[in-house]
Amino acid sequence: MFVDRRVLLKAFLFILAVVAAGMGLTAHGPGEAGASRPPVADGLAAWADVYSVLISPRCINCHTATRYPQQGDDRHRHFANVIRGRGGRGVPGLVCLSCHQDQNADSTGVPGGPGWHLAPLSMKWQDTNDRPLSSADVCRAVTDRSKNENMDGRALLKHHEEAELVLWAWNPGRRPDGTMRTIPPLTHAQFVAATRTWVEAGTPCPTAK
């Protein structure tokens, strides 16, 4: 009886805010307001980290714009005239699975993971001269749902966190000369964290220069 109405209103709004915060931020699209959504600047910085991984050899070698994959840290064209073929799985006389099994073969120096194949041309991160695309272009490609198998931010995060061929990059096995392949510039955990920040910020992309 003697409670101030404005206090009640404030209390109600406070509870609402707490509940809203507790529901998390993944459902937010660009432009939506949310109390703990990272600022766009943080999202862009996180994207820069993600990009650094995507264009590292273990990832970009299979995201080519051409009819061939690449190999090696110098990203040269894959030997033996291995080519993309239909569905990025090679051609009947020489499919990816002709050599690449579902796990690394360290004794013979051939990397492997389940369902080894090339990323589709829609997910190319290089130009036809084998040069990596800009951060802006790769970001656009990765977030374009008509090109990325209809993945939203949450699906992208899950892809980076769990997909086996993605995880492979951090366990890439031995080369034929016995040395270990290099891994991306961030750890997988860092990569996932950066992805999460970027996604929570609304998957912002840098503007093209």
């Binding site: 033996a80 051609v91 009947p92 006389g93 020489l94 499919v95 002709s98 013979t108 051939v110």
Partner: protein, 154 residues
Amino acid sequence: MATYQLTVNGQRKQVNVDPSTPLLWVLREDLKMTGTKYGCGISACGACTVHLNGVATRSCVVPVSLVGDRPIVTIEGVANDPVGRVVQNAWVEKDVVQCGYCQSGQIMSAVALLKATPKPTDENIEESMGGNLCRCATYVRIREAIKNASQKIK
């Protein structure tokens, strides 16, 4: 050492080998099947090509521990397949071989192509055979033999 049960050309075989041993060397030395050849050891030449569950596979880089129960077909057994027989006959009819060392692999790759694409174009042929090396360069007659075989496959 580990024991593996392999199905090779329809027959069950048991071998006891180091798990890291490439299938190529298990075939050649443990099973004494020398038709599959060692040319480079890094899957660059195709001389070691077999079929693993119907897929043309370069056996020099596949450790026996990763084969599992997938059936293996080698050059010694490919005549059991009607396409295999047609291809071998085409190879003989066209007098393809010279030294012959690469030809087991060439034939296995060609059979895989023709089973998937019975009427391959020139481009299909060049793509599927594009990773098989022949130092004698019998490539011209390889193309002719594949076309010859293709005509005979229904």
